[in-house]
């Protein structure tokens, strides 16, 4: 126990500032963030057929440096609890129906962010017998975050961009 506690103290708080959109006043960043989020943002992630590279970076968002939950952004287990759907991968034909159903189960306003080059356009996997290409081929997409995979900072900036520019 002593070891654990002393290591916690030794590690300290590593959280780095969030990449807020340029228009945001930066005097109180956490306050500015809450203003954007309305205190909390719940995200449901769906892997629609990715190579799992993008998942690694989404996981990284929860590490102590990016500390996503500390900012009031949380990944939830059910689409019914979600404000935003974060979709990775080209949409594989075998995942098409599961993706549609997840989208249908979400409450309005159903924000959708497509993550990675594959989510944007199908990437290297393209349009084939097994891949439908980008997420927008299947469900409406509000914002895309390109990259292979995009860095955690880019993912976070993209998520914040999607909510600041959402239709009222």
């Amino acid at each position: 126990m002593f070891n654990t506690i002393s290591r916690m103290i030794h590690t300290g708080i590593l959280t780095e500032p969030k990449p807020l959109p340029e228009s945001t006043p930066t005097a109180d960043p956490q306050h500015a963030l809450w203003k954007i989020l309305g205190r909390a943002l719940c995200i449901r992630h769906v892997d629609a057929g990715s190579c799992n590279g993008c998942e690694l970076e989404i996981h990284a968002l929860n590490n102590p440096y990016y500390n996503l939950e500390g900012a009031g952004i949380k990944f939830v287990a059910s689409p019914r609890h979600a404000d935003m759907l974060l979709v990775t991968g080209p949409v594989s034909v075998n995942m098409e129906e599961a993706l549609r159903r997840t989208y249908d189960a979400m409450p309005a306003p159903k924000l959708v962010v497509a993550l990675g080059d594959c989510g944007a356009c199908g990437g290297i996997f393209g349009h084939t017998y097994a891949s439908r290409g980008g997420v927008a081929e299947i469900i409406p997409v509000d914002h895309t975050i390109p990259g292979c995979p995009p860095t955690p900072a880019a993912v976070l900036a993209g998520i914040l961009h999607a909510i600041t520019t959402r239709p009222a």
Binding site: N3, T4, R7, M8, T11, L14, H45, V46, D47, A48, G49, S50, C51, N52, G53, C54, E55, L56, E57, I58, H59, A60, N62, N63, P64, Y65, F75, A77, S78, G89, P90, S92, V93, N94, M95, E96, E97, A98, T102, G123, I124, F125, G126, T128, Y129, A130, S131, C148, P149, T151
Partner: protein, 522 residues
């Protein structure tokens, strides 16, 4: 290698390991497979090709095995083009069963197995259409697939009920379906249904030029991008006889060990978390992020997707990276040593780890377990040790095995492999820095490849051996490329390891294997 039932010598084919190849006739296929089983060969992979456009029109089914002498590939030509079939090898090598189903789905050549359910095909393309055949017509496939129910094996009895999980899981994970039959909390049976992330990698390879294929190989399973892109490049380099500069080989191995470190660190954190010890996740995910940032300084990217290229590597280490990496390795070793002590001494954690998800040695051998999971059940196999390819031939890698076969053993293998990887990284870095003052080539030329050559690349990735079987076409094209992830062998192990455990332990047990969905779905 001479087999009792093979009366011809085998051909040598290009590969980063010694590779021999034999074309076998009908009964020889079965008998030679039995010979291989009797000699204790490790089954690597099974794939098929459409060779109906050749002078001798046929389908070919191929199987790769690992022996102390190297890789052995058997190729069986099937000349009945209307009803192509071949004898199953799943009796001797159970891991082949799902691969045989996949070959049937993609190529329409069928083993005489009993399981006729689709594996990679979920009603997405027509039953009589086979994507890997050369005359496959993409345009003729239905725009919206109709999903038909999948016949899971039913368990009957008093109080037995089913829990269906997936394909969309409750966390940030890849999609797959698990069907549990349980009594109360206890799991009586688990059946996996995978294939959800099948995105046609094998077919997509055929649309790429030979010198671009490594990019797709890196994306077969993103967490294993270095091993896959290396395996692809190794196959291509072996076919063309291209030389890889010594410096590039060292950098490749450094990248591969960094990939192993990153995944082991991530898993150790997640395993702590799945046992209710969030402190472990915080600490290990910090260390993993530190490593990824060190990768940016050393290689220019976090996950090294583009690091390994045909002929060598994309870039050299910048001068400041040597000191940074050495310092980082020292800190990492110190931190992991401390965290291991905390994990080892944490009663609650060990209570969850020990005896959970037990995979006994004899069962692991019987099922053909490979890689990390096999080493945790006492199977001492590691390509870096058994068949060291350059630069591992000079590194004397120490194999890490545990005999427990439970979650605790798989945790220990990861801890110990981190220390061994750090030792290798230091040795590689010392060698690279000795020669860092003079400019040295890091990328050799790739001569033009002849058509119709088969080459093999086998690399020990962090999960186990990944393999690429590359066949060249005319004019620098890919005729066929088969990418194999060790998750194929190890997914069925999970169905056994979970038996008798309780449902809430499943995430922990699953994580202790941490298998790739994308890698097996392809």
């Amino acid at each position: 290698m001479i087999f009792d039932h093979l009366d011809r010598p085998m051909h040598i084919i290009p590969g980063n390991l010694p590779c021999s190849y034999a074309s076998v006739r009908d009964v020889e296929w079965e008998w030679t497979v039995e010979d291989l089983h009797a000699t204790g060969a490790t089954f690597l992979t099974l794939w098929g090709t459409d060779d109906r456009d050749r002078d001798d029109p046929c389908f070919a089914i191929r199987a790769a095995f690992l022996l102390p002498s190297g890789v052995v590939i058997l190729s069986h030509k099937i000349r009945d083009l209307a009803n192509p079939s071949y004898p199953s090898i799943a009796q001797a090598f159970p891991a082949a069963a799902r691969m045989e189903r996949a070959v049937r789905d993609l190529l329409g050549i069928s083993s005489k197995t009993i399981d006729q359910r689709g594996w990679l095909r979920h009603d997405a393309w027509l039953t009589n259409a086979f994507p890997l055949r050369r005359d496959f017509n993409f345009a003729a496939q239905p725009a919206t697939p109709q999903s038909a129910p999948y016949a899971f094996v039913q368990v009957e009895g008093d109080g037995v009920h089913e829990i269906a999980v997936g394909p969309v899981h409750a966390g940030i994970i890849e999609p797959g379906h698990f069907r549990f039959s349980v009594v109360g909390e206890k799991v009586l049976r688990l059946e996996e249904r995978l294939g959800y992330t099948h995105k046609g990698v094998a077919k997509q390879f055929e649309s790429l030029p030979l010198n671009e294929g490594h990019r797709l190989a890196a994306r077969v399973s993103g967490d294993t991008c270095v091993a896959f892109s290396w395996a692809y490049c190794a196959a291509l380099e072996a076919i063309t006889g291209a030389g890889v500069p010594a410096r590039a080989r060292g950098l490749r191995a450094l990248a591969l060990e960094h990939e192993r470190l990153a995944n082991h660190l991530g898993d150790l954190g997640a395993l702590g978390n799945d046992a209710g010890f969030a402190f472990g996740l915080t600490q290990f995910s910090k260390l993993k992020e530190d490593l990824l940032r060190a990768n940016v300084d050393a290689f220019g990217s976090r996950y090294l997707f583009e690091t390994i290229v045909p002929g060598g590597v994309a870039g050299d280490l910048p001068q400041p990276a040597y000191a940074h990496l050495l310092y980082f390795y020292r800190v990492l070793e110190h931190e992991v040593t401390g965290l291991r002590l905390i994990y080892d001494e944490h009663g609650g954690l060990q209570d969850r780890f020990r005896e959970a998800g037990l995979l006994r040695h004899d069962l692991a051998v019987q099922l053909g377990a490979v890689g990390l999971a096999a080493r945790a059940s006492g199977i001492a196999r590691d390509l870096r040790v058994d068949h060291p390819w350059a630069p591992y031939d000079t590194l004397a890698t120490q194999i890490v095995t545990e005999t427990g076969g439970d979650v605790a053993a798989r945790v220990q293998v990861r801890f110990r492999e981190i220390f061994e990887s750090l030792r290798l990284c230091r040795a590689l870095l010392a060698d690279l820095s000795r020669n860092s003052m003079q400019p040295a080539p890091i990328r050799g030329d790739i001569p033009e490849a002849e058509g119709n050559r088969l080459g093999i690349g086998v690399i020990e990735g962090w999960r186990g051996p990944v393999m690429i079987a590359l066949e060249t076409g005319p004019g620098g094209t890919i005729r066929r490329c088969h990418a194999h992830d060790p998750s194929w062998q190890n997914w069925p192990l999970l169905e056994h390891a979970i038996l008798g455990n309780i449902v809430p332990d499943f995430p922990l047990i699953n994580k202790s294997f941490n298998l790739s969905y994308s890698g097996q779905d392809g």
